[in-house]
Symmetry: C2
Subunit: 409 residues, 2 copies
């Protein structure tokens, strides 16, 4: 077996194996998923092939798994010269055939920085989004359409306006909004841009529309350019459904001049089991950033669609830690109401997009009041004022605290 060399993607797997077979299996992964065979190569060829051969970097038993098996963490280094800087090459190499190899999970990826720099990463990142929107020193606020499918353009515009008047920074489509029966995405962008201008005269705030980028895969680039030039504020992309490589291509395109917002649809199919698939901090964290998402929506630890708190924190860490790429803006989602804002900021800081659907539309005063309650909550947190205190002069926030609670801390 060759020993470690520079420039490896190191993948760590959690799997069950017989203890006496662990090292052998680790080596067969390292060789089998790179040069195919090693011991039967002639010496001269081994010399040349060495730089391409995978290396076992760690074999660590972490628990007994019963039935004579142990749970082990095994790290294998794959030389980056073996693959091109594309998401498909990375995924196929580190978890292609292996994904079918019984009870096995990809739990960590360590990527060499100079290899990472060959990826576009986020085009805007946190600073770029702040500078585009003018929102500084506080979390951004996004409202989700209560319903999209089945509404005609007039109804959609009315619904958009109702949300915009609450003072939110972004309004996003449902990720399931594909039909163009009543209006195309292009028509929506044009109509909402006008509605946003009208609302802005009342609120004094600018609202951006995150439009769902839909259609055949190879038509997405042209559509993205078109929607951006029409005034879309962000492009919502179902990254796992389309493929990470699609995000990578869109992020790398200099003519798509708006942030890309990654939706987590279908991602649970990859991460939800604890023993199979790929860890959520990779699926929604590291890989989303590598491929170039500016904003990453992910299941908050508070709502009904849950992700363990520890996993959520790790995911956000991946979106932010220094790696040569711009940091992404995390958008924890599901079950967010105004009373949670202090906790959100405590958990994730202010470089955050507060993303609410039911927590806005379910407000007793309607969606406009719902947006205002969040604006008031964010303002209070930034000023260091307890929500209960701030609510005294903020009737919408008071109604939200009354309905959903929170703000006691």
């Amino acid at each position: 077996m060759p020993s470690a060399h520079s420039g490896c993607v190191v993948a760590t797997y959690l799997f069950e194996e017989r203890p006496d077979q662990l090292q052998k299996r680790a080596e067969s992964i390292a060789v089998g998923l790179t040069v195919g065979s090693w011991t039967d190569l002639p010496q001269a060829k081994q010399e040349r092939v060495r730089q391409h051969c995978g290396v076992v970097e760690r074999v660590e038993v972490v628990a007994d798994a019963g039935d004579g098996l142990v749970k082990a963490l095994v790290s294998v280094g794959y030389p980056v010269i073996n693959f091109t800087p594309t998401m498909a090459a990375l995924l196929t190499t580190v978890f292609g055939k292996l994904s079918m190899d019984g009870k096995i999970r990809l739990v960590e990826l360590s990527l060499p920085e100079d290899w990472v720099r060959q990826f576009p990463g986020p085009k805007f990142g946190v600073e770029g989004i702040r500078s585009r929107t003018g929102v500084q020193g506080r979390p951004l606020l996004m409202s989700i359409f209560k319903s999209c499918i089945g509404n005609n353009l007039d109804e959609l515009v009315a619904h958009f306006t109702e949300q915009a008047l609450g003072g939110v920074d972004f309004i996003k489509d449902d990720e399931i909004f594909f039909t163009e029966a009543y209006a195309t995405p292009e028509q929506r962008v044009e109509a909402y841009v006008k509605a946003a201008e009208r609302a802005s005269r009342e609120t004094g705030r600018q609202v951006q529309y995150a439009v769902n980028l839909t259609g055949p895969t190879f038509a997405l680039r042209d559509r993205a350019r078109r929607l951006a030039s029409l005034g879309a504020g962000a492009l919502l992309l179902n990254v796992v459904a389309y493929g990470y490589g699609v995000l990578q291509e869109l992020a790398a395109d200099p003519d798509i001049g708006v942030p890309i917002m990654a939706h987590p649809a279908v991602s649970g199919a990859l991460y939800a089991s604890a023993e199979y698939g790929i860890s959520s901090h990779l699926v929604l964290g590291q890989l989303m950033r590598l491929a170039g998402a500016d904003i990453v929506i992910y299941p908050s630890p508070y709502g009904s669609v849950t992700l363990e708190r520890r996993e959520g924190l790790k995911l956000v860490e991946e979106l932010r830690r220094p790696n040569g790429l711009k940091p992404c803006l995390p958008a924890p989602s599901a079950g967010i109401y105004p009373g949670l804002v202090p906790r959100l900021v405590r958990d994730f800081g202010i470089d955050l997009m507060v993303n609410a659907g039911g927590g806005i539309h379910g407000h007793p005063g309607g969606a406009t009041a719902g947006g205002r309650a969040f604006v008031q909550a964010i303002d209070a947190v930034i000023r260091g004022v307890p929500l209960g205190e701030a609510a005294k002069d903020a009737p919408e926030l008071a109604a939200a605290l009354e309905k959903w609670g929170g703000g006691a801390d």
Copy 2:
């Protein structure tokens, strides 16, 4: 709740729930993943929105799950007018947000035939592949490169030739072969086409090269056209890593005049758990065919990379059953040696691609002899001669049976 209407994709989920919550949860899926809300809509709007609203088609308790929970199968119909005929729209609708909703698995999909017909499906299918290759009345035979990475073009050509001389019908790249350090895919196609011609003069058989289609996502179409026009016999695609939509686009392109071979890399991340993700007969069966794979490689029930026999049979059923699209050629893979050919044909019929790596390269006489042993085994099975009998005049087959067994049946 609206009642059933025509034109629904019906998705069936397996999940755990409290029995008294089952119906409610089913309804919240049907409404939540289509029109968003129902009961609070005005009557007039309900009328219009009805056609877009999801419907619960079945709620069936299948087992007790302990802790006051039951395992249930729940079928929900999603009106096809809600989404465009793209793989991303389908996946996002039926298992987008839901994939993150705890212990839940997508286990069946029923698609209306007139909706399915909006997809390209396989461009060639079984008959198209047979007519292109001239192979009739027997399974096709494919050999997998023993190693690709780290070999220069001369070595690769020698390795290709060694396999071609065994009389195989296809020779395929490793799915992990992305590097162009020693030769581009275009250079490989050109070199192998010449090597195939030379080999053909000896064997009297034509061999096709299945080249790994690699590179940035949006460049794949041009590359596919180029590789096809240079003489590639098939395009190998890591479908899950690139996204099903990429396959759909390539299959729909009239200028890509060769079959597409779907590799199952990364698919285990979706199907391997029994309680999360998506069933393998969808991931590698129904969805591959819908998106347009001509040949589908999947884990055989015999080898080390296993798929339950029942699942494998269901998968193949999906590749074949009448649905308006051409049938795909199944290529069960992993752990295939000549002695297994009778069982392969018994399990899956002759419309099959016998796909072997170790079972060819590990032959005591080398890869050429390994290919011959398979050719002899296939020939014997078609003639109805037991392998042990056929081996008397077929030394390569005899050596294979000696090494790996089989053929007793």
